[in-house]
């Protein structure tokens, strides 16, 4: 095609768009919906609680969770499935098989990304490493430096997933291991300041990677009323910017609904955690349109 004919055709195209009523706006205000499903602290609870359980009778169970996830994916194929750590430890499934079945089932359910909780070190770094072949999903942690361990290169600070043209950046944060996990288990894993790392990650994901949506998978814990200085999801949200959603874990916090916290620049951050043991699944739907004047209107959050 020579230049002249290209220009002609381009012009023709634009005329058609304008005259034919296929205005620019009809292309660009198309609604997009991203669904984020998440679990945390499942702790090897593969079977549902029995009918006689004192707290959670007939709740949970991986095979039922899989059905729910499948139904939601049918409704919206642009669905992400995430886990905020402590996949391991809590039932004989872990004691007998070391996490093999947990990872296999998460892979079958098509989990996309998980972060690492303190109990995921329970069989040591070698125990975690040995199960990696069963995990067809990615691990992210921005504040555990595994450089001097067998996990080196198997955990990335963040992962980017594009769904329906929406660029989603997911980074992970883990809790301080010293005093919580025996050092013989985590060996030379270096714990880095989660707030500093979150500030770095959110900047990289927003400014360099130009993500439309930034999610933090955190195993820091929701908040610590009796230890106010201890870093938590609430503190993290308040001291960072550009994070849209913090998916939490560790504190086994059952929330009635996701919590909204103001970040460092007074914007809303959503924090959600779904208790533990696979009793609940969190579902966050993000609706995008393509209006150019971004800053003119805020985000409507309904929880």
């Amino acid at each position: 095609m020579n230049r002249r004919s290209f220009i002609k055709q381009t012009a023709a195209a634009s005329s058609l768009i304008t005259i034919g009523g296929l205005g620019l706006s009809s292309f660009t205000t198309s609604m997009k919906k991203i669904t984020v499903l998440h679990t945390n602290d499942v702790h090897s609870h593969i079977d549902p609680f029995g009918p006689d359980d004192g707290r959670n009778p007939n709740k949970g169970g991986v095979a039922r969770r899989a059905t729910l996830i499948e139904n939601i994916r049918k409704d919206n194929p642009n669905t992400l499935l995430l886990d905020a750590g402590d996949i391991f430890q809590g039932t004989p499934y872990f004691n007998y098989y070391g996490g093999e079945l947990e990872f296999k089932l998460m892979s079958l359910m098509k989990y996309d990304v998980a972060t690492i909780g303190n109990h995921d070190f329970d069989n040591g770094l070698d125990g975690l490493y040995a199960q990696l072949p069963h995990a067809k999903f990615d691990f992210v942690s921005a504040n555990y430096d595994f450089s001097n361990t067998v996990m080196d290169s198997h955990v990335k600070p963040y992962k980017i997933i594009i769904k329906d043209g929406i660029k989603i950046g997911i980074f992970g944060l883990g809790i301080q291991l010293k005093g919580l996990v025996d050092q013989s288990l985590y060996k030379e894993t270096v714990y880095l300041d989660p707030v500093e790392r979150a500030q770095d990650m959110s900047r990289i994901l927003k400014e360099n990677e130009k993500c439309d949506l930034i999610i933090c998978l955190s195993h820091l814990g929701f908040k610590y009323d009796i230890i106010p200085d201890k870093v938590s999801d609430v503190k993290l949200a308040e001291q960072t910017k550009n994070i849209d959603l913090i998916i939490g874990g560790h504190t086994h916090t059952f929330m009635d609904k996701p919590t909204v916290v103001k970040n460092a620049v007074n914007e809303n951050v959503l924090i959600n955690q779904v208790g533990c043991y696979g009793i609940n699944i969190g579902k966050i739907d993000f609706y995008f349109d393509s209006k150019k004047n971004k800053s003119a209107e805020g985000v409507a959050i309904s929880v």
């Binding site: 195209a13 095979a63 996701p258 993000f286 150019k292």
Partner: protein, 272 residues
């Protein structure tokens, strides 16, 4: 910015070529799509969040169930095979300062861990201390399985042995005297007066010597200050046996075909 420029360019081209008859629809469509994509800036305008409980109203995914089944079968076979027999039902609530189930656990830790510790260090374990709260289930009269051990000890706590001086052991005794709780002990005997004050504390029938070295077995949870047991630190040495309390119980049950522990006089208060 890019969008604005493209719009301006196209507008100017349009004014020149308004009457042009287009012939290639496919190209037009491609250009439309490119145009739309290049200009699109995704704007998050609404978030909806909720939690969904996994209940029995959801059907079981059979593909998943098929994967789980053989794993479950092997665990059940292993956990439900009978390894011992319990003469009675034992609960941690039966007994004031010592309980039959707690005595059995402290005895089991001594019996199973002492030969290992001795072979590694040349020293015997002098005494054992566990915690009352760490007994997580009753042992029912009848067959004992590995599942019993999982129920009694669901946690991953392991045996550690602490080399500590007598004055630290006396702190341990003070703790037990103050707590007045049936924390399981072995080879330590504590006798309280009617008013709860200490009459005597002995290890293997000998008074505790402040300057003597003692080897105290406990679990890593308590060593790290669990149940406010702060007396283990500082110490002279820590020996980690990598032997889970649960496995201690399984090994103990496997060795003893019948379990019949009793409340004894290892921790008592004198009654007049």
């Amino acid at each position: 910015m890019l969008c604005t420029n493209v719009v301006k360019l196209i507008a100017s081209l349009m004014s020149c070529l308004q009457n042009y008859l287009m012939k290639n629809f496919s190209l037009i469509i491609i250009i439309c799509v490119l145009f739309a994509t290049s200009c699109e800036s995704h704007h998050l305008h609404k978030i909806e969040g909720k939690q969904i409980t996994i209940t029995d109203s959801l059907s079981t995914n059979q593909d998943i169930e098929k994967v789980i089944a053989p794993y479950r079968k092997r665990i059940n076979e292993s956990l439900d095979s009978v390894i011992s027999y319990s003469k009675r039902t034992y609960s941690k609530t039966d007994g004031l300062f010592n309980t039959a189930i707690g005595n059995m656990m402290a005895d089991a830790v001594f019996e199973e861990a002492n030969p290992i510790f001795k072979s590694r260090t040349g020293h015997p374990i002098d005494m054992v201390l566990l915690n009352h709260g760490g007994i997580r289930a009753i042992i029912s009269e009848g067959p004992i399985t590995a599942r019993t051990a999982y129920n009694v000890m669901p946690f991953e706590n392991s045996v550690v042995v602490i080399e500590m001086k007598g004055h630290k052991v006396l702190e341990l005794v003070d703790y037990l005297v103050t707590e007045r709780r049936a924390h399981p002990i072995k080879n330590l005997q504590i006798i309280l007066n009617t008013d709860g004050s200490l009459i005597s504390a002995t290890i293997n029938n000998n008074p505790i010597d402040k300057t003597e070295t003692y080897y105290v077995a406990t679990n890593d949870y308590l060593y790290n200050g669990g149940d406010r047991m702060t007396f283990f630190k500082p110490n002279d040495s820590l020996y980690v046996l990598h032997y889970k309390i649960r496995n201690v119980l399984i090994d103990y049950f496997t060795k003893h075909d019948t379990i019949a522990p009793v409340i004894d006089n290892r921790f008592i208060e004198i009654e007049y």
